[in-house]
């Protein structure tokens, strides 16, 4: 049976030889993860900031909704988006099902609640005090909002990192919306599932190690970006 050593051996040879399939899957996974994280952050971070700033009646309800959305199984999210971009769905004409774009749409839907919720938590901690301090110095509401953002920047970056982490190892959405088509929508994660299905356990584990390496290197990069700040 498969040993971890087999897997490590496998992974090493795949990487050293720059196996074209593995390269294809890895680049695709990386691309999907980065783009999805980017888009989800563009939506989620300002949303989290705005929710934190305003106090309004439905605020607790919103937090509850966000937490619920975060707990959805990825397959459910995938099916939900599927119903929209499938050929007979509302956006079927776009032809995004079984394409990388379709996967990205699904991943963005998946992680935006997460990014929003973590941003909200990061900002809420300090936002009231920072906002008051800014206003007391004569800042406009907009300037104060910007200051809140700056003060919370490391927490916000943590939200982005959380989003990235969620996407990079994700299978449910990628499978349902991508279809795992080789050369088109096969990612590291869907390839791992396929290899497991086909009984190539060592190779699946090897791909897993490649995925781990990919995730680690990006996270190190994020840490580097975050590293400039003292603990808050």
């Amino acid at each position: 049976m498969t040993t971890l050593l087999d897997a490590l051996h496998n992974a090493a040879s795949l990487l050293i030889s720059l196996d074209p399939d593995v390269m294809q899957y890895a680049l695709r996974s990386l691309y999907i993860a980065l783009v999805s994280t980017c888009l989800a952050s563009i939506i989620g971070v300002p949303l989290g900031l705005v929710i934190a700033e305003r106090s309004f009646a439905g605020k607790r309800a919103i937090v509850t909704v966000l937490n619920t959305l975060m707990g959805l199984p990825t397959v459910v999210v995938g099916l939900f988006v599927y119903s929209f971009i499938s050929r007979h769905g509302i956006f079927g004409g776009l032809g995004w099902l079984f394409t990388v774009r379709g996967i990205i749409v699904g991943e963005v839907v998946l992680i935006t609640p997460l990014v929003t919720a973590v941003t909200l938590a990061a900002v809420t901690r300090r936002d009231r005090a920072v906002r008051r301090a800014s206003l007391s110095l004569g800042a406009s509401e907009t300037q104060a909002l910007g200051d809140v953002f700056l003060e919370s920047r490391f927490g916000i970056l943590a939200a982005v990192i959380a989003g990235y982490g969620r996407v990079v190892g994700e299978v449910g959405v990628a499978t349902i919306l991508g279809g795992n088509a080789d050369g088109f929508t096969r990612t590291l994660t869907t390839a791992i599932v396929l290899d497991t299905e086909m009984g190539f356990f060592a190779r699946a584990l090897a791909l897993g190690i490649v995925l781990l390496a990919l995730s680690l290197s990006i996270n190190i990069l994020f840490q580097f970006l975050q590293g400039g700040g003292r603990g808050q």
Binding site: A129, A133, L135
Partner: protein, 366 residues
């Protein structure tokens, strides 16, 4: 000339969780004139911060008007302009996550001052509060007192002619407190800055202010009698704040206005009483030399920041004497000990003879 004015201002906190709306502030009228140093004193929770923030245009009044230089910024949609004219040192210190120097420059940068100019002025402000040596340090590494001084420097850099300070000296180490007090003095005397200070440190308020107003339960009040906590006197008015039965009571006398809430205090001619703030005494064991007040220590009670003695003088009254903690440590007094009390010059207050509370005062009337 009036710089700031509150007219019929009411501040309500919105209702939450079944409780009704709470009135945090109700001020019929309050003027702050140019060059004044006005201290707002009162117990915790009396609304001092609310008043300070209302004056600084941080919060819109639920009712009434706040006028700056005769204009009504809230009504005219110029709250931002007003806020910039009245920088406020908030009760809580929040420094930004950057260097001390950048913090000090923040107010200027908000107003669009160039970075280089702002940093120069900021450095000057830091020097005024004696923390210029900390300029390059990260703000959050400083001690509490140092952070508060930086917060003050942030305001000083703006070189505004009006400042509002909310508890500037509360909870500070001795050195920081000294620096702050010195600065308030300098701003007033040398630069004619108009200052409004909310504080519960009465001694400082007396020392630094040109005028003191008293706030209890959100209302400006006057009054006082036995167990005097605080009082003030002017040509035409006198007001006193005193503790009685665990609560706050007040008496106010004014010779030219009808006031519907004050208790029987007549015009200032006639009988008077002497009121002495509890902290104005010096206590020494008997035998040190001639003093009007020689008596026996009846009770000793340790309060939060002072020791409170009850000294029975002659045949009575019982005078309340507060001793600072470090003073107490130097003079070990015991119950039953004979002591002599001396007063600090200028600390005595003369007040109208007390009338029975139930009796309404004779036509106060204009």
């Amino acid at each position: 000339m009036t710089l700031l004015r509150l007219e019929n201002v009411v501040q309500r906190h919105s209702a939450r969780r079944g409780k009704g709306a709470i009135e945090a502030l109700r001020v019929h009228d309050l003027d702050v004139k140019r060059g004044e140093v006005v201290s707002v004193v009162g117990p915790n929770g009396s609304g001092k911060s609310t008043l300070a923030e209302t004056l600084a245009f941080m919060v819109r009044p639920s009712d009434g008007r706040v006028l700056l230089d005769g204009a009504d910024p809230w009504a005219e949609g110029r709250a931002l302009w007003a806020r910039r004219r009245c920088p406020i040192l908030l009760q809580e210190t929040t420094l930004f996550s950057t260097s001390v120097l950048n913090n000090a420059a923040k107010g200027l940068r908000i107003r669009g001052v160039s970075r280089s100019d702002a940093l120069v002025r900021a450095r000057g402000a830091l020097a005024q509060v004696k923390v210029e040596h900390l300029a390059e340090r990260h703000a959050h590494q400083l001690s509490g007192g140092e952070q508060r001084r930086v917060a003050l420097a942030r305001l000083l850099a703006l070189e505004s002619d009006l400042l509002v300070l909310d508890e500037p000296m509360a909870g500070l180490d001795r050195e920081s407190e000294e620096v702050m007090a010195q600065l308030v003095h300098t701003l007033h005397k040398d630069r004619g800055v108009t200052l409004v200070m909310a504080t519960h440190n009465l001694r400082r308020a007396v020392a630094l202010s040109t005028r003191i107003v008293t706030l209890v339960d959100g209302k400006l009040i006057p009054a006082m009698l036995d167990n005097l906590f605080f009082g003030f006197m002017r040509r035409t008015e006198a007001g006193f704040l005193f503790e009685q039965d665990g609560g706050w009571q007040h008496v106010f006398a004014r010779s030219d206005l009808a006031e519907d809430r004050w208790e029987g205090v007549g015009p200032l001619e006639g009988g008077v009483q002497v009121g002495i703030p509890a902290g104005a005494f010096r206590v020494e064991p008997a035998g040190q030399g001639g003093s009007v007040f020689a008596g026996t220590v009846e009770a000793i009670r340790k309060e939060r920041d002072a020791y409170r003695l009850h000294v029975c003088v002659g045949d009575g009254p019982v005078l309340r004497v507060d001793l600072a903690l470090h003073t107490w440590a130097q003079t070990a007094l015991t119950i039953g000990q004979r002591v002599e009390l001396t007063l600090r010059a200028g600390s005595t207050l003369i007040m109208p003879m007390r009338q029975a509370p139930a009796r309404a005062c004779q036509s106060r009337g204009a």
